[in-house]
């Protein structure tokens, strides 16, 4: 959408309140850390921050929201493009130095995984140096090192949930969210 972020947020809040929808049904690209889809989007992100907004909403809510923007003028915000999302994905990398942290990471990645979500290309290694246990001054090596990398892909809400879990953990670097779907449909 073309328009100010705060104006679009206010419009969406009003729209959801009027329909009795719950907060969070419509997500904002800036909150989701979306990967720019093209060079053009990357440039807009760099130079037009605050005037370009990406919204993600489930059908049929998305269609109704698009209609509402068109009908009410969207308080100056205009619909620019839209696309159906088939799948979302992100890459991650982790390096941690205790077994308890590694266990917590594995649980976040593998326990209670939302339906339709999967971990691809998961690479895990454990380096164990028992002789390095304890305090060291000049030759420090951790006695336990866990490393993992991979990619989580699948249904949009599930991937967003897993990404939120991992992003909250120290020692885990999550990449931006990549969206797969139809070609964007240009509205104007």
């Amino acid at each position: 959408m073309q328009g100010r972020d705060d104006v679009v947020r206010a419009f969406v809040a009003g729209f959801l309140a009027a329909r009795g929808g719950r907060e969070g049904q419509v997500m904002f690209g800036s909150d989701l850390h979306l990967e720019p889809e093209s060079l053009g989007e990357r440039v807009k992100e760099l130079f037009l921050t605050g005037s370009h907004v990406v919204l993600v909403a489930p059908e049929p809510l998305a269609e109704a929201l698009a209609d509402a923007f068109r009908e009410h003028g969207g308080a100056g915000a205009t619909l620019e493009r839209r696309r159906a999302i088939r799948e979302a994905a992100f890459g991650f990398r982790a390096e941690m130095f205790s077994r308890s942290l590694a266990t917590a990471f594995r649980q976040a990645l593998q326990d209670s995984v939302p339906q339709g979500t999967r971990a691809d290309d998961l690479q895990e290694t454990e380096d164990v140096h028992p002789e390095a246990h304890g305090v060291e001054l000049y030759a420090p090596v951790h006695d336990y090192i866990y490393r993992a990398s991979g990619r989580v892909a699948g249904s949009f809400p599930g991937v967003v949930e897993i990404r939120r879990r991992l992003a909250e953990m120290e020692f885990v670097q999550v990449e931006r969210l990549h969206l797969e779907g139809n070609q964007p449909e240009i509205i104007r």
Binding site: S98, D127, G134, V135, E136, L137, P140, E170
Partner: protein, 451 residues
């Protein structure tokens, strides 16, 4: 003998010294596992590269130099470091605190004051775990550990020869124990400004913590308690022995052809006794809680054997001033501010103990070329104390500039990471913390005290 060697030695005889210092600085970053397993061999190799040709080329004077550095510098140094480490590792602070900015500032301030009395390594080992426990629930913790490193593992150690290895080496070379207190203005200025910057940082992050974390703790809480407090008595014994060795004269004895003073031998014997007493009277559980092992002492013993061996040509060349092959160094650093920054910049990336000795020799070579240390150091203190203050504070303070600047920095990083704190990378530490915080503080110290 030594002075003759200083004017004879070629500049490339300092290469093994540079080699061991660069090995200590770079291997833990570039090849940590290799270094962990083979640092003893690397150290031995640099020692042999120097000692072999040195003895073959210069004969008896070279052997005397090696014996001198072993008897006068190396053995007392290792005994002191081992004793402080053993005593520090016998004290454990139990209990849980709430990691508010006020609590964190108090813990870091206590550690900063302790550092001059139990050594930066001992103070860091003592306070890091209570600090980590207090901040367990916080999301923003890395900045606290970095400022802890600045203050407890480095700046706080500047006030006594027990605080940081370079100052103890200065003491062994004739700098009086209580002279080190004269840097209290520089130390207080740097410590208070850095602590104030930390407080502002921590208040900023504290306001961004979840409300649950910021709420006062309800329910039962483990009270604060110090286990192994009797080790403080042994610490008092160490302090007394070191001070007495600086003011009492018991005559000389000759060991391996080297003249050593009786009071120094008595001091080392008392220190060894304190270490043994601490080891025998402290429960194994306290040492386990501190993850105490002899590993760090082994590291220091092996690496400093190589440092003290390879430093001989560099110090000898510097002490003869412009008559030696390192005259370019002597000519390059002339004012106290130069010494502060030159010793500081090198201490940021190389071990600060040999750096201190190098610049002390540079100052002596520039101001009193060819005069023995026993005469030159009292003259330096009397007439040009600013030079020694600049070298002492530059070497101690600027060890904080990078993870490799001082041995406890890596230890603190490692303990914090194993406790779940994501510490900044090598360059992240420098760019996000050292450059914006420490360098302006050191510029202020220069402007106030070394203009």
């Amino acid at each position: 003998m030594e002075l003759e060697l200083g004017s004879l030695l070629p500049v490339w005889s300092a290469i093994p010294f540079a080699g061991i210092l660069l090995s200590i600085a770079l291997f833990p970053l570039l090849a940590p596992v290799f270094w962990h397993h083979h640092y003893a061999k690397v150290s031995a190799a640099w020692s042999v590269v120097l000692a072999g040709p040195f003895v073959l080329g210069y004969g008896v004077p070279a052997v005397h130099e090696l014996a001198h550095v072993a008897v006068v510098d190396y053995v007392p140094f290792i005994i002191l470091i081992s004793t402080l480490f053993t005593i520090g590792g016998g004290i454990y602070v139990r209990g849980s605190l709430r990691g508010s900015p006020a609590t964190n500032c108090v813990l870091i301030a206590i550690g900063t004051v302790l550092a001059s009395w139990v050594g930066t390594t001992g103070a860091a080992m003592l306070v890091i775990r209570p600090l980590l426990r207090a901040n367990r629930a916080r999301r923003h913790r890395a900045h606290t550990i970095v400022f802890f490193t600045f203050l407890v593992a480095n700046i706080g150690g500047a006030l006594t020869p027990l605080g940081d290895p370079p100052l103890f080496l200065g003491f062994l070379h004739g700098v009086p124990f209580f002279w080190t207190f004269t840097v209290w203005r520089e130390t207080a200025t740097a410590a208070l400004v850095v602590l104030a910057v930390y407080a502002a940082h921590d208040v900023y992050y504290w306001r961004r913590e979840d409300a649950l974390v910021r709420e006062p703790h309800r329910g039962p809480r483990e009270p604060l308690a110090i286990e192994g407090w009797h080790n403080l008595l042994f610490l008092g014994g160490v302090l007394g022995a070191v001070i007495v060795s600086g003011i009492w004269s018991g005559g000389d004895v000759v060991i391996l052809g080297v003249r050593q003073q009786v009071q120094n031998l008595v001091r080392d014997a008392v220190l060894a006794t304190m270490m043994a007493a601490s080891w025998l009277t402290t429960s194994a559980r306290i040492r386990e809680q501190n993850e105490f092992s002899w590993g760090p002492i082994r590291e220091v013993a092996i690496l400093f054997a190589a440092i003290f061996t390879t430093i001989i040509p560099a110090l000898a060349m510097l002490r003869v001033g412009e008559r030696g092959a390192m005259a370019f160094v002597v000519r390059a650093v002339r004012e106290p501010a130069h010494f502060f920054w030159a010793s500081g910049i090198l201490s940021s990336f190389l071990d600060n103990a040999p750096t201190y000795l190098t610049f002390l020799s540079t100052a002596l070579g520039r101001l009193y070329p060819g005069v023995g240390e026993d005469v030159a150091i009292p003259r330096l203190i009397e007439a040009h104390a600013a030079y020694l203050r600049a070298i002492a504070t530059g070497s101690v303070f600027m060890g904080a500039n990078s993870y490799i600047g001082n041995a406890p920095n890596f230890m603190v990083k490692s303990i914090a990471e194993e406790s779940g704190v994501s510490m900044p990378s090598f360059f992240g530490y420098i760019i996000r913390y050292s450059l914006p915080v420490l360098i302006p503080v050191f510029a202020l110290v220069t402007w106030l005290f070394f203009r």
